[in-house]
């Protein structure tokens, strides 16, 4: 080549390149916006057709949705008249005024108004415990666990149910409602399901036939039936099975059902974790002279539970969504309060239902999405630990 004059390639000589060749710019269609579009949106015929179809669909769906939820929405008002179609306002979007008006009902249900600070306090102490335990770098997380699993239930019970001796008036559970009940049911499920689930999982892997059979039967039975039937069982059968004088509280019956149900699912999650522990760990613990419970407590369970944190959190997400089913046994959880407020004549408009459901959906979405993001984060952290 005449351009690369310094490259020697005479007869009988090896070709030796002394200068780097001039690199050409990449084709226009491979870089920049065009290249990105080609690689990510129009990489083939099918891909291009899909892209166009989706863009058309989004153009048809998103603007009306934004218009309904934000632009045409009614933000304030005292009753249904604010959200009705009038001459001046031919199009009415979401009726957020309804949500604002009934917000206290959605959060507290019928909890006495002058006692609602107790509910707020309950939320605060629960939030502190939860954040402390979930924040993986927080100091003394063992204390956090003790606080959350032992102190919080006791304090919450006294706070919410009341203890006249120390000046907290008794508040009947029939008055509880809204987010309060949703959180109470979910927390009881969460706190109860882990220990019961661990015991059941250990029982299922036990070498003692009676214990194994009982655990397997319990787990498979509960997992084989819908939660709604467990709730029905607790609400209509449980009162029959205890002496007539006990007549257990309606909320308590639902709590028992939720705890039983979530424990069976938790047992399977824990079992998966136990199965992931290599045999050598058990044998090493035995060789060190540990008997069954110390072996489980000090060697096996810490590893198994740590490995299953993401699955445990995911089953908590499922539990949180399942709390809506207490609806069927006449308990005013958050969804039920929305359902009741929705049909209240004071706010009955064509858009009230959609608004109420949109609000409820956002509530559950935020909670569950945060929980599953947390599970993903822990998973990534644990995963990186394995590779090191």
């Amino acid at each position: 080549m005449s351009v690369a004059g310094d490259n020697h390639a005479g007869p009988g000589e090896a070709f030796v390149r002394t200068h780097a060749p001039v690199s050409l710019p990449p084709p226009v269609a491979m870089t920049g916006v065009l290249g990105w579009l080609r690689a990510n949106l129009f990489s083939g015929v099918l891909s291009s057709i899909l892209t166009i179809l989706i863009l058309v669909a989004l153009a048809l769906i998103v603007p009306p949705l934004v218009k309904f939820l934000l632009i045409d929405a009614v933000w304030s008002g005292a009753d249904r008249d604010a959200c009705l179609v009038t001459e001046a306002r031919p199009e009415v979007g979401a009726c957020w005024a309804f949500v604002r008006d009934r917000l206290a009902f959605f959060v507290y249900g019928s909890y006495p108004i002058d006692q609602r600070w107790r509910v707020d306090l309950f939320f605060v102490q629960l939030a502190i415990g939860t954040v402390w335990l979930l924040w993986l770098d927080a100091p003394r997380r063992d204390l956090a666990a003790a606080y959350l699993f032992v102190a919080v239930p006791v304090i919450s019970f006294i706070l919410l149910y009341g203890w006249p001796a120390i000046g907290l008036a008794h508040v009947d559970t029939a008055l509880w409602g809204g987010v309060l009940v949703t959180i109470v049911v979910a927390s009881v499920g969460i706190v109860a399901s882990l220990p019961i689930g661990i015991v059941l999982a250990l029982g299922r892997r036990s070498r003692m036939p009676a214990i194994k059979i009982v655990s397997v039967a319990f787990i498979e039975f509960v997992r084989g039936v819908p939660l709604i039937t467990v709730l029905f069982m607790a609400s209509v059968m449980l009162p029959l099975f205890v002496p007539a004088t006990w007549s257990p509280d309606k909320l308590l019956r639902a709590l028992v059902a939720v705890a039983i149900f979530s424990a069976a699912y938790m047992a399977e999650v824990v079992r998966a974790g136990l199965q992931a522990i290599p045999r050598g760990q058990y044998e090493a613990a035995r060789a060190l002279g540990l008997s069954y419970w110390p072996m489980m407590r000090l060697v096996v369970l810490p590893q198994a539970l740590k490995a299953t944190i993401p699955n445990i959190v995911n089953s908590y997400v499922a539990l949180f969504k399942d709390t809506t089913l207490v609806f069927f046994v006449g308990i005013f959880d958050f969804l039920k309060t929305v359902e009741v407020a929705r049909v209240d004549p004071k706010w009955a408009t064509p858009v009230t239902s959609a608004t109420g459901y949109a609000f409820a959906a956002m509530f559950y979405l935020v909670f569950c999405y945060c929980m599953s993001r947390y599970a993903k984060g822990v998973e990534r952290r644990l995963g990186s630990g394995v590779r090191e």
Binding site: L41, L325, Y357, A361, C368
Partner: protein
Amino acid sequence: MPGDAERVPLFRYAGLVRAYEAVRRFLRNPDALSALYQVVLCVLIAGVVYLALANAAENLSRAKIATGFGFWDVTAGFDINQTLISYSAQSSTYGRAFWVGLLNTLLVSALGIVFATIIGFLVGIGRLSRNLLVARLAGFYVETIRNVPLLLQLLFWYNAVLKVLPELRDSHVLFGGIVLSNRGFYLPKPMFGPQIVWVVAALVFGIVVSAVVAGVAKRRRERTGQRLPVIAIAFSLVVGLPLLVFVAAGSPVTFDNPIMGRFNISGGMEILPEFMALLFGLAIYTAAFIAEAVRAGILAVAKGQTEAAYALGLRATPTLRLVIVPQAMRVIIPPLTNQYLNLIKNSSLAVAIGYPDFVQIFTGTVLNQTGQAVEIVVLTMAVYLAISLVTSLAMNWYNARIALTER
């Protein structure tokens, strides 16, 4: 023992010491201990069950509630608005209502499973698409739907979408005489002539012959490596042949269109809005979970498998069909089974929107009318356990068929 300081005659305690030693030996003996634990557990359970039954007997007799399954043959006296088998409030029994409800549950579950599987596989594959828009949209779908309770979604579909459709008199009439209204959907009802027997026979014949051809082709491929165009043959046999017979028999089907009356609609096939809402809700919700299972299954196939297939000269489509999918299915089937079971169990949420499913009819109305909580709740649970068991067995059979045969 340096016992001389205390001068206590040891023999006085000898019995106690022996007993203590025996207990210690017992507690050190794992077999004996495990027997003890098991006996204690069994006694505890037996005790609780006995107490519960004793209380139940007492409570029931005090409340004057009948026991046993005598109610089964009693006339039900309530109406059901969707019945797959003949049923009437005046003459049918509670037992008949049981079967009506069970069939309704099975109907919505079966259709829900079909739709959820289709949507779930599409979304799951879409989430791995190289097309950014498809992948993001699929991801958005999964994250949103999975994180909102099914009950809320059902209520939304029913109360905020289907119930705000126009009244019957100013309902939408779509192409082909489909009527959309808040009272339900009305479709033309196909009425089959007697010649339809031949079409069904052709369909059955096509399926049987296709199965035989598939078997022959498989053996031939394993022996000689040559392949037959099985899919084309099966398609022409299963779809083409019945179609041909259908035309040859003079198209023995007419449609009974829904006709709008003054207050009501006559003719056609009515689909309850409750049914549509439940089907939408179940299919869309479960599809999000199936999509995740599918995505995980495909990701679980090592990248080396794709590269090896390419190295062998396979193109993208055969690689997917012959290498990736068979291996991914092994990972997908167990969670898929769980999702099917969840869908069947979740169909009981029909109670919330008033679709006459098994729980709504039996555990709801029949329980309220008879008051026999124990029998009815136990029977309900038995039915769901049986359905779960059958589904698991079927899926396990399929799973065993496609499982990796290891040496």
